[in-house]
Symmetry: C2
Subunit: 232 residues, 2 copies
DNA sequence: TCAAAAGTGTTGTTGATACACCCATGA
DNA sequence: TCATGGGTGTATCAACAACACTTTTGA
């Protein structure tokens, strides 16, 4: 079992980068966190947040590092989307880039970070053109988000810990870009039995006020362990 | 827009490899094409087929090259699964590996190739332990195969051009590892209206003989272009 | 003539959709 | 008192699951 010291030295090496497709939800809209690139090539053009892989870190470590540096947040929901390896995708040099998508509860994202990194939340509806193959990445990330949203309760990653049913519905409508019937939505989401109804109401968004709910992670985990398949 | 010559030279470089999770279907069983590794480390242990990325090729080119060299076939159904970047995944050196899964119609796979590369079809049921993180890759590839099989008509990639309904059912049963009702299966698959019934029967697998069908790619493409969502 | 696999319809259940009115509240 | 958004129930339809017998043919 002991490996001899084969070093693969006859094979070429490549720069490996990561790009993060960061989704958030603000003012009833699905948004993407982007910035104006500060280095050449494409300096000053809109870009996803990214960075290079370092010697002593795994890919997931690197993605987490980039998100942590940018947002100050730990334990962000994150998933690999795809790896991009076209030869000329970066005109400056050959770079293999692994795209991750991340969901962040935008209310926990502070403006200080935003200023420091020049980060901007942009509504998906008026997204500017992005550099290189970043548009493709976003497209693919959005598809993944839709798929995930319909099979796992990830919507909760984008909302505050306490939220109302109408809020949750607005989120799903933003994700799917289509209107949902509120009676059917409520019925379906409550039938999953993974929401805890709280005593208080949210009185900010309406006069009447809507009851707050919290996602019951324990119950959800229990269901999943029992082979349950969450579906919206 | 003209990039200055930024060369990213302060960032480290890595070996980039590809590993192929190659599924086939033989004798009513779902199989995986593997071999005994010929280089250190892990020489002589069961491994997926893989190889290193070259300077002048994209990731998909590389995956296609590896599959072509191994099978002699072009236009194989192939899809990226995930990229593996743990630091110690290969004890000999740091290697980032992109895992692809591929479906090959095993009847078109010749034994010569098999001998030349020491390739072996192994039933998923009695799969030996594989090196490094290849077990994880296979697990993930299998999940992807199941997901795809239920949303795209990929089953046809694994069968000869002409096949019978019972054959197709056996394939789906092998993929899902569960028995299906033949009346319901036939009803459902025919209702998709993407199979062309032929005049001839296959008389090899039964006395009575079963009608042969062919997948109607044109019709399928037409449906998909019209927004149709194939589902099994 | 019999064993082995192909082929065929109906029924009940469940989940999805469509749809309209009353309620609570702050301004 | 009224405008705004929150909350509720039912009826219809489509998709899915369960289920048993007849047909063909080579040995």
């Amino acid at each position: 079992m002991g490996p001899k010291n084969q070093d693969y030295s006859e094979h070429p090496k490549f720069h490996v980068a990561l790009d993060c497709i960061i989704f958030g939800f603000e003012q009833g809209e699905l948004k993407l966190l982007i910035h104006k690139r500060r280095i050449e090539p494409f300096k000053g053009h809109w870009s996803l947040f990214g960075g290079f892989l370092k010697d002593k870190e795994s890919l997931t470590d690197a993605a987490n590092r980039i998100l942590r540096e940018l947002t100050g947040l730990e334990k962000i929901y994150m998933e690999e989307i795809q790896t991009y390896g076209e030869i000329k995708r970066d005109p400056a040099a050959r770079v293999i880039s692994v795209a991750y998508y991340a969901l962040i509860p935008s209310h926990r994202y502070s403006d200080e970070h935003s200023k420091q990194y020049g980060a901007t939340w942009v509504s998906l509806k008026d997204l500017p053109a992005l550099i290189m193959d970043h548009d493709t990445m976003v497209e693919k990330g959005l598809m993944r988000l839709r798929r995930r949203a319909s099979s796992q309760p990830i919507g909760f990653e984008l909302l505050p810990r306490e939220f109302t049913i109408p809020q949750l519905q607005t989120l799903y409508e933003a994700i799917y870009q289509s209107e949902l019937d509120k009676r059917n939505f409520r019925k379906k989401i409550l039938s999953k039995d993974v929401l805890i109804k709280l005593e208080e109401k949210d009185k900010i968004h309406s006069r009447k006020g809507a009851f707050l709910y919290r996602f019951d992670k324990r119950k959800y985990k229990h269901l999943v362990d029992g082979g349950y398949n969450f579906t919206i």
